[in-house]
């Protein structure tokens, strides 16, 4: 039997995240059936596939929001699945996450949403954290929302603020879990633009999305998942224009 070769995003340099034999069961349900994947620094990897295929679970396993049933996730040399509380906190600080439902903290103003983690978790001095927050908000065009409550932002603004909140911790990788799925159509663009800029600046990104245009345009590497497995992987041209697997072809036919 041939040894299993992990999928490798290949275009970047050093490997940032190494996933080996990742299995996740919810009770009797097998959600991830042994995922092997190498993510290289600077790569933008887009996970596509039907709902229930396990792509969100894969993403959420990387920072251990879901506890894997088996397998390893090596991030910058440390196995996330074996990390103690302290170590896990340090690892998570270097992985930013953006959620479908934004999950901004409703009891904190935008500025405090962004600075609470740097100040409380990393003990960054307040002035320094705020200076950085201002700079980041300016970059996503939200500096005028500095003193605003989250509930007074539009969906697109909320998600941009949530991205800034994650970036404020200086992560080495950003995990996006369907960042535009809860948005009104007219607000999708502003969030995707922020993500495109991030990608251009060289941020390593894993993105679960249904935005196929974005996937093709920004992704270095596309993973098509179905039924808890990576069915097909490759460059956007390979996956979108010349899909080899029947399941990929069927899926793309439905969504494109």
């Amino acid at each position: 039997m041939p040894t299993r070769q992990p999928l490798d995003s290949g275009s970047g340099q050093e490997i940032l995240i190494q996933i080996e034999g990742l299995v996740k069961n919810f009770g009797k349900l097998e959600v991830l059936k042994g995922i092997d994947l190498n993510v290289r620094k600077g790569d933008v990897i887009v996970l596509i596939g039907p709902s229930g295929s396990g792509k969100s679970t894969l993403l959420r396993s990387i920072n251990l929001l879901e506890k894997p049933t088996a397998g390893k996730i090596i991030f910058e040399g440390n196995d996330v699945t074996q990390a103690g509380k302290k170590e896990l906190s340090l690892l998570r600080q270097r992985m930013g996450m953006v959620f479908q439902q934004f999950n901004l903290f409703p009891h904190l103003k935008v500025k405090d949403n962004i600075t609470v983690a740097p100040i409380r978790v990393r003990n960054t001095p307040k002035e320094e954290a705020e200076a950085k927050a201002r700079k980041l908000l300016e970059r996503v065009g939200l500096i005028d929302k500095w003193d605003t409550w989250p509930q007074n932002l539009s969906g697109g603004q909320k998600q941009r603020a949530a991205i800034v909140r994650a970036l404020a911790m200086d992560p080495d990788v950003m995990l996006f879990d369907e960042p535009t799925s809860a948005l009104d159509p007219e607000m999708v663009g502003e969030v995707l633009d922020v993500m495109k800029n991030l990608a251009r600046e060289g941020m390593t990104m894993l993105v679960v999305t249904h935005e196929m245009r974005f996937a093709r345009e920004v992704g270095d590497y596309i993973l098509f998942m179905d039924d808890g497995q990576i069915v097909e992987a490759g460059t956007p041209e390979q996956v979108f224009d010349h899909p080899q697997q029947k399941r990929t072809q069927d899926f793309l036919q439905k969504v494109l």
Binding site: F105, D147, W149
Partner: protein, 225 residues
């Protein structure tokens, strides 16, 4: 026959005695809510820990307090503790009894408040590297307290009324003052009507003030932008 003129007369002439009772009643309610919510908070958090024995202990405490009469609890603390060698002023013992009682109910309220915070909030906090303690302190608690505050206000109003039970152990709160007066002047109906009116004014004003506070807090949320 009810002597209405007498009601007024009792209120005016015995006003200082009633006010003394009001002061003690309000003190009881204030300290009970303050310390009771702290106790409730500790209990509510303990009931979420992974330490099963601690959880059981807290569940037993809450179930026991909710399943027994307040008066029995008061008698147990006020007469029982001194028998065990705990020498404290009567008033302090009463506050302890009320706090133990109120803490159980507060724990339930706070638990509901903690549960009302969306799961995504915890995930967002954890994804930023917050420990479970930091998540509780900076993310969950502030949101839970806001949800729980109105219920805590209701508890304050409830204790103003419930503390009347302490007349049984001779604490000079409002009911005891009235009872003492009536047993001297024999105008039981009129004196108790005065006490009832004073209780009503207290709870009515407290309810209105708390409603005002609540509205202002809600407004601060939405208009601050």
């Amino acid at each position: 026959m009810i002597n209405f003129a007498k009601i007024w007369e009792i209120l005016v002439t015995k006003f200082p005695a009633f006010m003394e009772g009001v002061e003690i009643t309000l003190q009881l309610a204030f300290f009970t809510v303050l310390l009771g919510s702290l106790l409730g908070l500790v209990v509510a958090i303990c009931r979420r820990t992974r330490l099963a024995p601690l959880r059981w202990l807290m569940n037993i405490y809450v179930a026991f307090i909710r399943g027994t009469p307040l008066l029995v609890q008061v008698l147990l603390v006020v007469y029982g503790l001194p028998q065990l060698g705990v020498k404290l002023p009567r008033m302090t013992l009463c506050i302890i009894a009320l706090v133990i009682n109120s803490g159980a109910y507060m724990a339930e309220l706070i638990r509901a408040g903690l549960q009302s915070v969306a799961k995504g909030q915890v995930e967002a906090a954890e994804s930023l590297g917050m420990s479970s303690g930091q998540t509780m302190l900076y993310i969950i608690l502030p949101q839970a307290v806001k949800v729980t505050l109105p219920a805590m206000g209701n508890e304050f109003v409830a204790i103003i009324k419930e503390s009347s039970i302490l007349y049984a152990v001779g604490v000079y709160e409002l009911t005891y003052q009235a009872y003492k007066l009536a047993s001297v002047n024999y105008y039981y109906i009129e004196t108790m009507i005065v006490a009832a009116l004073i209780y009503f004014v207290l709870t009515y004003v407290a309810t209105k003030l708390l409603g005002l506070l609540e509205r202002r807090m809600r407004r601060a949320d939405t208009s601050a932008a």
